[in-house]
Symmetry: none
C-alpha cells in the first residue's frame, strides 16, 4: 500500500571536520538521539544533489531533489524569489531579485542595503511604483523580506540572459543591464528604464525625507541581480502523482514549492533565522501529512550557522532539528517513508557552499538497514545507498513508498 | 581560496588478487608508508575510467580523466603518438602509428619489429622520405621510440576510418588499407602508395645493406595501425580555467598532454621503462607545481610489470612511486589537492588491460576522510567516493580545489 513521504531538508547540512569540534563534523558532534534511533534501522548514503564536483545553490539543488532537472528549467533565482512573496507569474515572465540601495549623485552605490531598510519603509516605497508599462511590457515591483524587493516584467519577446545592475560591491556605480541576445536586450532596456524611474520617484519621496531626518541612509535606488524566466513547468502533483505540501519559512524555498504547485505553510514562530520555532514546524508537518502524500520540511538555519562559521550554532540547530524529527516520527500513525538530507554542504570551516556531497538517510518500516548507528557525513560514506545524484532521490523515495509503477511484466 | 591540483596516474595500476603475492594485489602487498600516511585522512573510491565493463586504453582513459569525453574526440591512437614525438598537426590531419618491419619478397611480414631496430638506423631510414606529396596530400614520416614510427597525412577530404596495414602477426602479408567511407578511402589509397614508396626506397638503402652485413633483419617496410584524425579540441587551460603541465616520459602520454595544450616535461633519467628515475619525476613535479595550477604526473612501469605478469616488479614500482609521492607531499608548501589513481587495470594475472575499476584516493587539508588506512583496490571499495566515472574526476578535483563555479544561488 502506498505510503506517505516526509522529506526533511536541512539547508547547508553537509560539513567537514571542524577544529572547533575536535575534528568532528557538526552532525557527528551533535547529540541527536531521535534521528540516531531511526539511523540504526535506516539506509544511508551520500548525495551529490546536482553532480560530483558541482557546488549547488539552494534553488538548483531543491529543484533537483524534488525531481526537476535544473538544467532544463533554471535560468536564475528571480522567479523563485518573486513566487516566494506571492507574486503570480506565468511562463515567460522575467523576474529579478533586487535590493533597495543607497546611491550618490553619480549613481555610485554607497550602501547595497540602504542601511538594512525594512518594513514599513520598503512597502511604502514599493507602493509608489507597483505597476507601470514600459515599451509595451508590464513591470511589477514589490517589497520582499528586509532590504529585498522583486521586479517582474511580463510581455512578448522577453529574454532572461540579462547582466546584473547590482555592482556586487560598494564604491561602483549601478551597472547598465545588457542582454546576451535580442529578447534579453529588450528585457535589459526595460530594466534600465525602470531603474531610472525608481531613482526619480524615490529621491523626493516622503519615506526618504523621513529617513534623512533620522540620519538613516536614503533608499534612493534599486539594484537587480539573478534575472530568470518563469519556467513552463509540470506541477509536482501531475508529474509525480502525489499531492504536495511544504513547511518552510525562507522565501526562496516557499517560492520554489509554489512554482511547483505545492501548498506552502509557514507556521507562527517559524522563520529563516536561528530563532525559528522548529517544534512549530514539526507540528505543521504532522498536520500536513494528514492531508498530503508528500511533505517537504525545510530547515534554514543550519546553512546560516555554516555561513557564519558558527560550529556550536550548527550543532545546536541540528539538536533542535533532532527533537523536531523525534516529535514527528512519534506522532505519525501509519507507515511513513522518512528521509533526511541537505541541499548542499556549507562547512563551518569554509563559510560558503562547497561541492561535498550531503548525507542521506531513508527509513521506513520493514526496509533493509545498514546497521549504522549515527546519521552523519562519515558514517553515510559506508552506507548501502553509496553515492546518489539529486535527481535519483525522488524515484527512490517513490519506489520505497510503493508509489512507482512496475516497469515491465 | 583556489588550491593547486596534483594528479598522479600510475599506468595499469589496478590489479586482482595475485597467487604470487599470497592472494594480495600488488597495492596490498607493497610497503607504501608515504601514500598510506595520507590514506588515513583521504577519501577513497573506485574509478571506472570510461564506464563499468569497458576495458580502457591508456589514451581513451587519460582523455577521460582529464575531462575530455573520448567518444567525441578519439578516433585512433595515431595523432597522440605523433604529437608525442613533437610533430605539429592541425585538426583534420590523419596520423598512423607504424612499426619498421621485415617482409619477404611476397610482402609477408617475417618480423614485426625488424629485429627490434632502433636509433640511429630508424632516424636514417626516416630521413630518406621525410615528406612527400601523394594525390595532392602532404605525407610526413618520422621515427619514434625503438622500432616505432609515425605517418601523418595532411590535406583536404581525408577520413580516418582506415583499416590497418599491420597484419598483427607474422606469416601474413602487409594488408592493403581500405577506407570505410569516401574520405577514408582517399586516406587509405595514400597510405598504400606511401607504403609502396617506403618498400622501394628502403630495400636498397645504406642502412639495410649494413644491417644485412651484420646479420640483422632488414627494415624494408612499415606496417601501420591506429589511424586517427587530429581532433579539434578545446585547450585544457581554456576548458578548465587552469594552467596545465605534465611530467611524463611515455610518448603517448606526452602526446595527449601536448594535444591538450599542456607543457610537458621529461626530466633527465625519467623513462617509460622499469629503469625510470621516479625521484627525478617527483622533483620535476614539485618544480612544476610552482608554475602550474594542475600537474599530471604519469608513471608508466606499473603497466609494464602488469603486462609482463611480474608481480614482484609491480610491487617494487609501487614502492618506488610511494617514495616519490612522499617526497612531493613533504616538499609542497601550501594547500594542494592530491589525487592518485590508475588509468586502467593491468592485472599481473591477466597480463593485459582489464575492465576492473582502479582505486582512487583524494586528499586535501580540511576535507572529510574515510578512516581507511591503506590505498588499494579492496579498501577503496569501502570508501566514501564509492564508484565514479572517469569524466567525473575532473569536476570533483576542481570542486575540492575551489576552482568551480556555484551552480545556482
Amino acid at each position: 500500500m502506498a505510503r506517505k513521504i516526509l522529506l526533511v531538508i536541512c539547508d547547508g547540512l553537509g560539513d567537514r571536520p571542524s577544529a572547533a569540534l575536535g575534528g568532528k563534523t557538526p552532525l557527528q558532534a551533535a547529540s541527536k538521539p531521535g534521528i540516531d534511533r531511526i539511523a540504526a534501522s535506516a539506509m544511508h548514503g551520500l548525495l551529490y544533489t546536482i553532480a560530483p564536483g558541482v557546488t549547488p545553490g539552494s534553488d538548483t539543488s531543491h529543484l533537483s531533489l524534488l525531481g526537476y532537472d535544473p538544467l532544463g528549467i533554471y535560468t536564475g533565482r528571480g522567479p523563485f524569489e518573486a513566487a516566494g512573496i506571492g507574486l503570480k507569474m506565468k511562463p515567460g515572465d522575467v523576474a529579478f531579485r533586487c535590493n533597495f540601495a543607497t546611491v550618490d549623485s553619480s549613481r555610485v552605490v554607497v550602501d547595497r542595503r540602504a542601511g538594512r531598510i525594512g518594513e514599513p519603509d520598503t512597502g511604502e516605497l514599493a507602493s509608489l511604483l507597483p505597476e507601470v508599462e514600459i515599451d509595451g511590457a508590464q513591470v511589477r515591483f514589490r517589497e520582499s523580506t528586509e532590504h529585498r524587493c522583486v521586479v517582474v516584467i511580463s510581455g512578448d519577446g522577453l529574454g532572461s540572459s540579462v547582466t546584473d545592475t547590482d555592482p556586487g560591491v560598494t564604491g561602483r556605480p549601478i551597472q547598465l543591464a545588457s542582454g546576451l541576445d535580442e529578447p534579453s536586450s529588450r528585457t535589459a532596456a526595460i530594466l534600465n528604464k525602470f531603474t531610472n524611474m525608481v531613482i526619480e520617484k524615490f529621491s523626493g519621496s516622503h519615506v526618504n525625507r523621513k529617513r534623512m531626518e533620522k540620519g538613516l541612509p536614503s533608499a534612493n535606488a534599486i539594484i537587480a541581480r539573478g534575472g530568470g524566466v518563469y519556467p513552463d513547468i509540470e506541477p509536482f502533483d501531475r508529474k509525480h502523482g502525489m499531492s504536495f505540501g511544504a513547511v518552510a519559512a525562507e522565501g526562496l524555498i516557499l517560492g520554489i514549492c509554489r512554482v511547483l504547485g505545492g501548498e506552502v505553510v509557514t507556521p507562527k514562530g517559524a522563520t529563516a533565522t536561528m530563532e525559528t520555532d522548529l517544534m512549530a514546524k514539526g507540528r505543521a508537518a504532522v498536520e500536513m501529512l494528514g492531508r498530503k502524500d508528500f511533505v517537504l520540511l525545510h530547515v534554514k538555519p543550519t546553512d546560516i550557522a555554516g555561513h557564519d562559521g558558527n560550529a556550536a550554532g550548527k550543532v545546536e540547530m541540528i539538536e533542535r532539528a533532532d527533537r523536531m524529527v523525534d516529535y514527528i516520527i512519534s506522532s505519525c500513525s501509519g507507515e511513513l517513508v522518512f528521509a533526511i538530507t541537505g541541499d548542499h554542504s556549507t562547512p563551518v570551516s569554509a563559510k560558503q557552499h562547497t561541492c561535498d556531497p550531503v548525507p542521506l538517510m531513508i527509513h521506513s518500516g520493514g526496509l533493509r538497514s545498514d546497521g549504522i548507528s549515527s546519521f552523519d557525513e562519515i558514517s553515510a560514506g559506508r552506507g548501502s545507498l553509496s553515492s546518489l545524484r539529486g535527481l535519483e532521490l525522488m524515484p527512490l523515495l517513490m519506489g520505497y513508498a510503493d508509489r512507482n509503477e512496475k516497469y515491465g511484466a
